[in-house]
């Protein structure tokens, strides 16, 4: 794919990771075990969604500059639609905006018009200067196969310990990633990473403390943490498996070489685990079980998730192949925008 498209995909991947995890964390709001922790996890959710917004805005800019979605883009599917700032509504079915005509482009409105003539073709619909994409359309109007978040962030919250562990694994990786990305060649990604690094440093600190407290806590908390570790470990491998676009960008110095991040992540996890009296599963645990693209059995299907062992590496999220969890998340998160396109409050 072109560097342009790779950059778009990478930016969307970063945005999707942040948005989906932010959404998952927000499910705790009002339900946290203790007031101060309810506030803490909500703060973290807000931080992540803020990062997502920055990335989506940049992705929208890149997409609009490049003239729309490539027909052969990763995941396919048509997802530009919604409402322009002038209040013109185009439903996702794309019957065409009032007065736009079959190939109408109303540049002056700053809104979204769907090119009515191409709508029926299915795949290539988004192409062309008529479609303006915004952060909201990227977040609310893409379907699961267009999302490029890793599988870890879409996993269910489970109990408090599982949420903490998921946050810990992700923040340790995200911290290492942003720490590299802030020196990358893309100025916008560098700026976003620089700002986000401070937020993520706190997420990492907060979740590390809790992993230690729960791991080295009571018998019950320790048992629950071990169970959560069994459930989540298989999703950690994907954090360091580069997708095609990540590989391409790393070569250009725009992205990050994920293999450089892994030792830092591992060091941090081992350090915290030893204090938490949790044993580090290690690579052997990854080799048992599936050992491959377990989620790939059918598009968007759950693939190897049903395997019993803690082993194996499940991946595919970065390329749009997700566990069934993502479907439920999007159904909740996107319902309002899809049912009442362009609604504001």
């Amino acid at each position: 794919m072109s560097i342009e498209q790779a950059l778009i995909n990478f930016t969307l991947h970063l945005a999707d990771d942040a948005l989906i995890l932010g959404h998952r964390n927000s499910e705790w709001t009002g339900h946290g075990p203790i007031l101060e922790q309810d506030i803490a996890i909500s703060n973290i959710a807000l931080d992540l969604i803020g990062q997502a917004r920055n990335f989506y805005q940049y992705a929208a800019l890149l997409i609009n500059q490049s003239g729309g979605v490539e027909a052969g883009g990763v995941g396919g599917g048509f997802w530009s639609g919604g409402v322009g700032t002038d209040g013109v509504v185009t439903d996702v079915g794309g019957r065409g905006a009032a007065g736009a005509g079959a190939n109408g482009v109303d540049k002056g409105s700053g809104g979204v018009r769907i090119n009515g003539g191409e709508r029926g073709s299915g795949e290539a619909g988004g192409r062309g200067p008529g479609v303006v994409v915004m952060e909201d359309s990227l977040a609310y109007l893409r379907d699961a196969w267009d999302f490029k978040n890793c599988l870890l962030v879409e996993q269910a919250n489970g109990d408090w310990g599982k949420t903490i562990l998921r946050q810990f694994f992700f923040s340790a990786a995200q911290y290492a990633l942003y720490d590299q990305l802030r020196y990358g060649k893309d100025a916008q990604l560098a700026a976003i990473s620089e700002k986000a690094s401070k937020e993520v440093a706190y997420h990492l600190r907060w979740s590390s403390e809790w992993v230690i407290r729960l791991g080295d806590g009571t018998y019950e908390s320790h048992t629950r943490m071990k169970k959560s570790l069994d459930e989540l470990w298989k999703f950690t491998g994907e954090l360091f498996i580069p997708s095609s676009y990540e590989q391409q960008l790393a070569k250009e110095g725009i992205g990050v070489d994920l293999s450089l991040l892994r030792p830092r992540w591992e060091e941090r996890v081992r350090e915290i685990f030893s204090e938490a009296r949790l044993s580090y599963p290690g690579e052997e645990a990854r080799k048992g079980g599936d050992g491959g693209e377990g989620a790939d059995k059918r598009g968007g299907g759950e693939g190897g998730v049903g395997k019993k062992s803690a082993g194996g590496v499940l991946s595919g999220g970065k390329e749009g192949r997700h566990t069934e969890e993502l479907g439920y998340i999007l159904a909740e998160m996107q319902f309002l925008q899809r049912a009442y396109p362009g609604c504001e409050w």
Binding site: E36, N43, Y202, W206
Partner: protein, 95 residues
């Protein structure tokens, strides 16, 4: 561990502009580290401060309100304790 067993901590925050830590409120936490993080999450969301002190509530000792009369009233009418009571000779320019 049920929340009722976590000790109570008093939180003091030094604002951006200010010089002293002001009492911001209280919260429950298992230990000092957690108290500091909780204070950060609960009391500094709107950039209220740049520094946090936490003190377990049991270590704060307060004067008894019943004794307020004996403690504080006598200072009310001793005007000679205020520097403004005294006239300074003009030669003392820098007092």
């Amino acid at each position: 561990m049920p929340e009722q067993q976590w000790p109570l901590w008093e939180i003091f925050i030094r604002s951006k502009q200010g010089l002293d830590h002001k009492h911001a409120g209280s919260l429950h936490a298992a230990d000092a580290q957690m108290a500091i993080e909780n204070a950060r999450d609960v009391y500094t969301r709107r950039m209220e401060g740049v520094s946090i002190w936490v003190v377990e509530s049991k270590y704060i000792h307060a004067s008894n309100p019943d004794e307020a009369a004996a403690f504080f009233d006598p200072a009310n009418d001793k005007v000679y304790r205020h520097p403004t009571f005294y006239d300074l000779p003009d030669e003392l320019k820098y007092m």
